[in-house]
Amino acid sequence: MTTRAPGAIDVYRQDFRDQKPAPKWLQSLREHGFARFEALGFPTTKNEDWHFTSVSPIAEQSFQLASTGGQIDDRRESSRRKADVLGPLGVRPADVDRFGFGEPGWHTLVFVNGMYSPDLSTSSGAVVAGSLAHAIEAGNPIVERYLGRIANFDRHAFTALNTAFVRDGTLIEILPEAQIEQPIHLVFVSDGDCVSHPRNLIVAGRHSRASVVESYVSLRDSTYFTNAVTEIVVGEGAHLDHFKIQRESELAFHVGTVEAKQEANSQFHSFSFAVGGSLARTNIYTALDGDAATCTLNGLYLTDGSQHIDNQTSIEHIAPNCPSHEVYKGVLDGRSHGVFNGKVYVRPEAQKTDGKQSNNNLLLSPQARVDTKPQLEIFADDVKCTHGATVGRLDDVAMFYLNSRGIGSEGARTLLTYAFAADVLESIELAAVRESLEKAVLSRFSA
């Protein structure tokens, strides 16, 4: 139920108090989170990080805290789900399949309104990913060790709010040296008028390798609020490919934060694909905290109608000899509004930093708007950093060139727009994801 409530924070406070008790350490973490959220309040556009995005549509509504979800009990997880099973909220396996990548063998964990749903999930081989709620209940020490230590809830109100409501999500623990061949797909299905706060923790042990895809989806148009946080530790020499695919309902609100900490010689490759939501914000933050760690933060956002999609990234060069590469592209149509804010900090110790950042935008309609703000802050003297941003429209000359070859305006527009967007998808190594996103982009631009 959504009701207009002047005191939306009061509703969060009440829900916070009504939560089931948790182990002591978690209780304390939640309380810290809520205290910070109360102190910070919802960000306003006076906050530099939220200058182009007003969250008042989120702040002025009170959402019911999601409670319907997978049963958290001791039932053994079925390794093979049944097709006739009806999951929480009437979600069927087939509903979830269309958000998959058509690849057998992937580990797929499905969450309904933020809660793990074993009946909808499949996994094969050695299970490295499971429900966070289970891990908390089982007293897995890795959760206590890392949860809340990577994602900064001191400064970020939405992360603080998520921390106050930590309950379920995923724990992915990749043992040192482990090479996880099959990608892990986390599917967050939301519905109803609720708020959910999925929390994920990925700990990639030294010299391990894995790919994790997070999909945020909805089965129908409904207004809800997803406030997700993923914390990632990329251990020494580990390699993690991470994809965040945001395809929420066009009425939904989404704030998703991915925050990583990288140790020496680690590789973190992130791709953020954002097409859904009426108001959506994605934060991808990484800290290069060990010598010669590498990161790639790429992304594509496609907006239409009256959508507002904001992308914020931060690359913090703490250690020396770290290359970082970032390419974000946006295609904006209708009366939509896109935002890109990419920060690269180079600390005094981070000598020999090699940073490249670019953001390119294509406006398809006169009413579409984009605000782009690439930022470099360099405190070391021996570094190589470049950044740039462009905003353009479809090239008339290229349009005429295609027309003059027999390709009509609609086809030419599709072809040029697709070419602009697909360029950044080429960086995706995982073929199933790349091809699926290419298809999604093509169908979006084909009239």
Partner: protein
């Protein structure tokens, strides 16, 4: 095939074509020559339907139809091809995909079945030889990173694949060395047939040593000031354009007199 009648066109308030009349029949090659700014490229662009130019007077009939009423893609689907003076780079679109799309759009418009990528590859292989280009160019982005000569050869390659009825070559010789010029001209000559017509727009007579025109027209200040046979090009080479700059406009095209 093509009948241009007192055509006026320009950009904004600036009139560039000030009454061009020209008739081109199937099987003919016409050269349109003239100094810079005379309007020759504008004529080529207007015929292809570039929306930057506004037609302010006169008319153009193409096979009996009103050409100016057709969108550029419809003109292409009806067999008109413009080889661009400055071919456009399109990052992210491969030559193969681009040209196959164009080929299939034209086939579709003419009630023919589309071809699949493999059939298309068979079809283009021999056309590539015609312009001495390697198959690897097909997977490169359209014109991106191409040298000037490669871009022009790519235009003729596209022309060979799309097999137009009326080809308009806009300064295809500019920026070409003599070897590339020969390749381009041979490509054009191989495509000449009694059913097709070609308009060669050029500043220099040089290209006409290789593509021998049936008629030569000289443009100055947006009008055709002189028309003649291929020997007119040689005369221009010798005397330059100055002696014609102030000449009176004429209705051109031997076809009109034939």
């Amino acid at each position: 095939m093509l009948e241009i009648n007192d055509l006026h066109a320009g950009i904004g308030d600036r009139e560039i074509l000030r009454g061009i009349s020209l008739r081109v029949n199937a099987g003919e090659v016409h050269a349109v020559m003239g100094p810079n700014g005379s309007g020759k490229s504008t004529l080529a662009q207007v015929l292809a339907g570039n929306p930057t130019y506004e037609v302010t007077g006169g008319g153009v009939k193409y096979n009996g139809q009103d050409l100016l009423e057709m969108d550029p893609e419809v003109r292409a689907q009806n067999g008109i091809f413009l080889a661009f003076q400055y071919p456009v780079e399109i990052p992210g679109v491969s030559n193969a995909y681009f040209l196959r799309s164009a080929y299939n759009e034209i086939r579709k418009a003419n009630g023919q079945e589309e071809v699949d990528p493999l059939e298309f590859l068979d079809l283009v292989e021999e056309k590539l030889k015609l312009v001495d280009m390697d198959e690897s160019m097909l997977s490169r982005s359209v014109n991106q990173g191409f040298s000037g000569g490669e871009k022009k050869r790519n235009e003729i390659f596209q022309m060979a694949v799309l097999a137009p009825r009326l080809a308009i070559l806009d300064e295809t010789d500019s920026g070409l060395d003599i070897d590339a010029l020969r390749i381009v001209a041979e490509g054009v000559n191989k495509l000449r047939s009694p059913e097709n017509a070609t308009i060669v727009v050029t500043h220099y007579q040089r290209l006409l040593n290789y593509i021998v025109p049936d008629f030569v027209h000289v443009l100055a200040n947006g009008r055709i000031v002189k028309s003649g046979g291929k020997e007119l090009a040689l005369e221009l080479e010798e005397k330059g354009y100055d002696w014609l700059q102030n000449a009176n406009p004429v209705a051109a095209g031997a076809g009109a007199r034939a």
